[in-house]
Amino acid sequence: MRPVFKLTVFLLICCFGAIAQQNTVSYNGYPIDGNIKKDSTINAFLAKYRDSVSKTMNNVIGFSVSGMSKHQPESGLGNFMTDALKNIGEKIFNQKIDAAFVNFGGVRSYIPKGNITVGSIFEIMPFDNLLILQKVRGDSLISFLNHIAERNGWPLSGITMGIKEKKAVNVMIGDKPINADSVYTIANSDYVANGGDNTTMLKVFPKINKGVLIRDVLIDYVKLLTEKGNSIDVKTEKRIEYVN
């Protein structure tokens, strides 16, 4: 009996003294993947929403004869997007916009030939970026345009310029040469206005924000052009080109 008793006391001390007092936690992160059976109640609940979501996504809002894709330094798709920001933006903010921009990396897909659906616009603009206006001084705008030139050209509207040795040259804004001392109203995504893609020169300027998604601006522009009887085929027009 004696050794058993000793062992018991030892066990009591070691277990209750050391382990039993310690709170413990174990963890796991369950990956949710296609191998897991879908809960039928939740799946049925989602079905009606899903059906009308796809109906909305498949909703035809315009037509493109030739389709549009992204290219540098300039592309029809980029011109379409920045024209949308400028035109619809002027209506939303009820003021003149001198220039509008989209960062090249933010254009995620293309507009196919044929019907343009709401889903097509989600493809090119899946991000929930907001349309932002900023009133910037000409010298900062020039430094932003140099940034665009260094990156081989981004979509823009309201400006024409050349790219020479990674710098913006011959910059015209509203048909006048850019003035370093003037103040210009420019439209960007909140991503760029906040200094995304290293556009730090824009960060200091106050942001005018109405919580409008860029995607909704694009959708509205397609609808507007369609109402006017136009197909969505924006051409390149040497807004931005390499010069020697």
């Binding site: 936690v25 992160g29 993947d33 897991i36 939740i42 909305t56």
Partner: protein, 310 residues
């Protein structure tokens, strides 16, 4: 006398052997031990309206996520675990066409169906406007917890609560929520008259209240973000600057933690932080075993040993 001693030996030997043998079978240890209260916490964050799996378009998340699959896992765990709390750390809204069209109704309804116990608000939950969030909350069977937003004179006035205390068996669990600074992050017209208050101060006041009301475990649902390179307030800052929080379930920064991070708080106790990325790609699980002995002498701050994967 002899019988009594024999019985005593038999019982203690049995208890001792049980304790020794149990670690060999991993997490089963706690579940089979009468010295502990068990609580399983399931959590999500930044689901961003990802109700269906990512589309099969060749991108890296194709076919992953989706609430119908998540619901299956949750139900399975509920069948096995003794006590479960299902929590969300905000940004329920925005990110798929579901939100653009339905403004969050299916998200909130589905969370109610899945039996969420509580959630908090992320910055994107203001995306449809504060009135919209108030409207969608009518579909919620769970509370939205926030202790550092003052919603006086907004559509959310009296629609959220700072904390909720859950009785899980003998365990009293206090859960509260904190939100991120909205200025500069969310357009002012969307959050309206909401006043943001210092999250550290509010968290400490609320956690102290919960402690004094006998909560054995205190959980903070946070949308602050786990950590930043500058001095911005984060879960990491809160973890170091608090007194009574056992666990911060975080979000906003979309980070997938491989395991919970442990910090020493102001009382010398442990505060854990965990986060499971975004889009409902993962369901987080934490299995707590709280020592009954510790609870009886609750003067000491809680410390916790991270045991590994459950």
């Amino acid at each position: 006398m002899l019988i009594n001693r024999k019985t005593f030996l038999k019982q203690t030997a049995f208890a001792g052997a049980g304790l020794l043998a149990s670690p060999l079978i991993g997490s089963g240890f706690a579940a089979e031990n009468k010295e502990f209260y068990n609580l399983t916490i399931l959590h999500t964050n930044d689901v961003h309206s990802r109700l269906d799996p990512f589309p099969m378009d060749g991108s890296k998340n194709s076919g992953l996520g989706g609430i119908a699959a998540r619901a299956t896992i949750i139900e399975q765990i509920r069948k096995e675990a003794e006590h479960v709390l299902l929590l969300d750390a905000g940004d329920i809204f925005q990110g798929t066409p579901f939100f653009n069209i339905y403004k969050g109704e299916p998200e909130i309804k589905a969370m109610s169906m899945m039996g969420y116990d509580a959630g908090t608000m992320g910055n994107h939950d203001f995306d449809g406007g504060i009135e919209n969030f108030a409207t969608q909350l009518k579909h919620a069977s769970f509370p939205i917890l926030l202790c550092n937003y003052d919603f006086t004179n907004t559509a959310l006035e009296n629609k959220t609560v700072p904390y909720k205390i859950f009785q899980k068996g003998n365990l009293k669990v206090g859960v509260f929520g904190i939100g991120i600074e909205l200025k500069g992050l969310v357009p002012q017209n969307l959050y309206g008259n909401t006043i943001y208050k210092n999250p550290i101060e509010c968290a400490n006041t609320t956690a102290d209240f919960l402690k004094r009301h006998g909560c054995h475990l205190i959980i903070c649902l946070s949308h602050l973000g786990d950590r930043y390179d500058d001095n911005k307030i984060s879960d990491e800052v809160l973890a170091k600057e608090n007194y009574d929080i056992d666990l911060i379930i975080g979000g906003h920064t979309h980070r997938f933690f491989t395991e919970p991070k442990k910090y020493v708080n102001k009382k010398g106790g442990d505060t854990l932080v965990n986060q499971v990325g975004w889009a409902g790609l993962q369901l987080g699980r934490l299995d707590y075993s709280i020592s009954k002995t510790n609870i009886k002498k609750s003067i000491k701050p809680n410390t916790v040993l991270i045991r590994g994967k459950s």
